[in-house]
């Protein structure tokens, strides 16, 4: 299983390749913006007022058995039933009050006395606040990262790292928007975690660039390209292996973990893939672009490669 890292990477010019990946990411971002504007997100109960009832059953019930119950209690309007093997999900656009909640459980227990319920209720005001808090958390995290990275590295690294992490977070949101996957509170946690990983991953490559910069004299644009390419080559195996191990963990959580963290795991899996991609093809090249501008200003270099 031992790869020969030199053979694999020697010919890859990451800086040069990044042109195409920049384009790809910009296209994906535009698609994401359009999808969000047109379709929005498929908000789960955490972000939409209403009630969500998850029922684990000992036998399979049919929609015909459930509908009359909802009608009888008077909560059938705006309800949505999803049936699965030994489970059932009923979504209400209105918040269930205690009496209806109680009646519903009573009636379903009559059909299946081993039924186990999970009921979530959210007020719109609460949901908006949750979303606002999440966005606030992301922005504050970004500021924290910019400050820390600027102190430890330099501001160009901070800017590149933040662009990469926002890119990763936005890509996950895009995928969830396009495929109409449900966005609940755990999705927010997943996005925040992805941001954590993305920055972790990016910093490792930047650390290598910082280290290599100490021993090299950067006279020309070519020197800078070489520096970035070498640094990425030297750390790419670690980036891939780490992404792989976390991917294994997230993937098994998605496959076998509890129902309530399934969307979380899926968001993680998607985010990890984008995280590994952006670390290699977006973050370092952005730093290169910023850095080469500085070079151009200080001393005009021979010629631009692009």
């Amino acid at each position: 299983m031992s790869f020969n890292t030199k053979k694999l990477n020697k010919n890859l010019n990451y800086v040069h390749l990044s042109k195409h990946f920049f384009r790809l990411s910009i296209i994906l971002t535009i698609i994401g913006v359009i999808s969000l504007a047109v379709f929005g997100l498929n908000y789960g109960v955490d972000f939409k007022a209403g009630s969500n009832v998850d029922i684990t059953l000992s036998r399979t019930l049919t929609e015909e058995q459930i509908q009359p119950i909802l009608k009888q209690i008077g909560i059938d309007e705006g309800s949505d039933i999803t049936l699965g093997d030994n489970r059932m999900n009923i979504r209400f656009n209105e918040v269930l009050n205690e009496d209806n909640d109680h009646l519903l459980k009573q009636e379903i227990l009559k059909l299946d006395d081993k039924a186990s319920f999970e009921v979530n209720t959210v007020d719109t005001e609460m949901a908006k606040e949750l979303a606002a808090n999440a966005i606030k958390a992301v922005l504050i995290s970004c500021i924290g990262i910019i400050i820390y990275v600027s102190i430890r590295f330099e501001w160009r690294f901070a800017v590149a790292a933040v662009i990469a992490l926002l890119h990763d977070a936005f890509m996950v949101v895009t995928v969830f928007s396009i495929f109409r996957l449900e966005v609940d509170l755990t999705f927010i946690i997943a996005v925040l975690t992805i941001i954590g990983y993305s920055i972790n991953d990016t910093i490792v490559i930047f650390d290598r660039i910082r280290e290599n910069m100490r021993f090299s004299k950067l006279k020309t644009r070519e020197d800078l390209i070489k520096l970035v390419n070498n640094s990425v080559s030297q750390t790419i195996m670690r980036s891939l292996y780490t992404a792989l191990t976390v991917f294994i963990a997230a993937f098994f959580l998605f496959l076998l973990g509890g129902e309530s963290i399934r969307m979380f795991s899926l968001a993680m899996v998607i985010g990890l893939l984008f995280g590994a991609y952006s670390t290699i093809f977006i973050a370092s090249p952005i730093w290169f672009v910023l850095k080469s501008k500085q070079k151009n200003n200080s001393a005009k270099t021979s010629k631009a490669t692009n």
Binding site: I189, Q234, Y241, T242, A249, F264
Partner: protein, 417 residues
């Protein structure tokens, strides 16, 4: 030789301590509602009268009274916490009649002291409201004993004048105490009370006295509670989630361990061992600090395992790089360790920044997740960097492991100096 003995001792003692303590540790982990079943309600408190702001004190008192009420309803370990300036989060486990509990908790505890005004149709009916709950000092009712050792309830009102007027007018007559239109006691006014305090005799029953005291204190709390968010998880569903998630985690972890050993051979094995120690320590911290483990917490934990492995991958990749560049194993481990430490610290600190922000701004599930992440990163630095390096160095210094193949490096990849 000494170092080998030290190495074996460290490994054996650590393994023995973990094996010996794990069963009782696992039993003592405090599980969240999503894992053991129960329900959680987030209330928003608003004052009943006027648009006054909710004071911190009255919020805390309301929370305490909710806890008392929950205890009275026989739920196991109710958890009541205040959030922000006007919210109360209530977590209850082991509730049989959820609807009833929810109704009771929300009930405003309308306490009134009443007298007769002539419109009554039966002897134990009192229609004129003389005083309401808010006339009483918050938490002013106390259980006391007379010289005869008879339990009595001492109460305190806010306005001495009003109480004096009422007791003077009703001297010798009953002043009935109502809780939500239910007559709970009808003591007779024995004297004009000018000090704003009084004692109520209930006839020798301590429990009845306690109940009266609690009722008066509840009634004195002026906050109205509105359910803002609620989550209820059936016990079976919770256990199922726990089982599924742990199974998924175990499979993922075993695969990661195999990957590490295949990739990095001996250091990979140490990394695996350090990872197990890391997991044990995390559980220890949870039990010791009495943190609650929730489903997102388990998710954070399993993903954190992946991140802990990252520290090992960074170190070992670096060591291999140094070996390939022609260094001896000994100096490669030294140089690799030194260089990778800064990388690992920088990358972990940035992740901690994100986790801390989540902890500060998150609610409920986000907080639980962030907490695990922070604890885990700190433990990961201790075990996956220092502990696994310590083990590796013990063996290296004893003269073992000096061949590159133990690090998964092929001889032909080594560059000549």
């Amino acid at each position: 030789m000494k170092r080998i003995i030290a190495f074996i001792t460290v490994v054996l003692v650590t393994t023995a301590v973990m094996a010996f303590t794990s069963p009782s540790l696992l039993r003592n982990v405090h599980l969240g509602l999503d894992l053991k079943g129960g329900f959680e309600i987030l209330y928003e408190a608003t004052p009943y009268e006027g648009g006054a702001k909710v004071s911190k004190e009255s919020l805390v008192k309301t929370a305490q009274s909710l806890e008392k009420r929950a205890n009275m309803l026989g739920t196991s370990e109710p958890e009541v916490t205040t959030e922000g300036s006007n919210r109360i989060r209530l977590k209850l486990a082991g509730v049989t009649d959820e609807a009833e509990v929810r109704k009771q908790m929300k009930e405003p505890a309308a306490l009134t002291f009443r007298s007769k005004n002539g419109t009554e149709t039966s002897a134990d009916q009192y229609n004129k409201i003389e005083m309401v709950g808010t006339d009483f000092a918050e938490n002013g009712a106390k259980l006391e004993y007379t010289n005869m050792n008879e339990p009595i309830v001492a109460i305190k009102v806010k306005s001495k004048e009003k109480f004096a007027e009422v007791t003077e007018r009703l001297l010798g007559q009953p002043l009935a105490i109502y809780m939500n239109d239910e007559l709970i006691s009808a003591p007779t006014v024995q004297a004009v009370l000018t000090e704003g305090t009084a004692t109520i005799s209930v006839g020798g029953d301590v429990n009845e006295a306690k109940e009266l005291r609690d009722n008066i204190n509840l009634g004195a709390l002026p906050l109205k509670l509105t359910e803002k968010y609620s989550q209820s998880v059936g016990a079976t569903l919770g256990q199922q989630s726990l089982k599924e998630t742990i199974e998924a985690g175990l499979i993922g972890s075993v695969l990661i361990l195999i990957f590490m050993i295949v990739m990095y051979h001996v250091p990979g094995l140490f990394a695996g061992f350090a990872l197990i120690v890391h997991t044990w320590l995390l559980i220890l911290v949870f039990v010791w600090a009495d943190f609650t483990l929730t489903l997102p917490g388990i998710a954070a934990f399993i993903l954190g395992v992946g991140m802990a492995v990252d520290a090992n991958i960074i170190t070992n990749e670096r060591i291999r790089e140094e070996i390939r560049s022609g260094r001896s194993v000994m100096s490669a481990v030294k140089a690799g360790g030194k260089h990778s430490l800064r990388t690992i610290l920088d990358s972990n600190i940035t992740t901690i920044i994100v986790a801390l922000v989540m902890f500060a701004y998150g609610t409920g599930a986000v907080k639980g997740f962030a907490l695990v992440l922070v604890v885990e990163i700190v433990l990961s630095i201790a075990t996956n960097i220092y502990f696994s390096r310590f083990l590796l160095n013990l063996l290296l210094k004893s003269g073992k492991l000096l061949k590159p193949k133990y690090f998964g490096v092929k001889e032909r990849d080594i560059r000549e100096l």
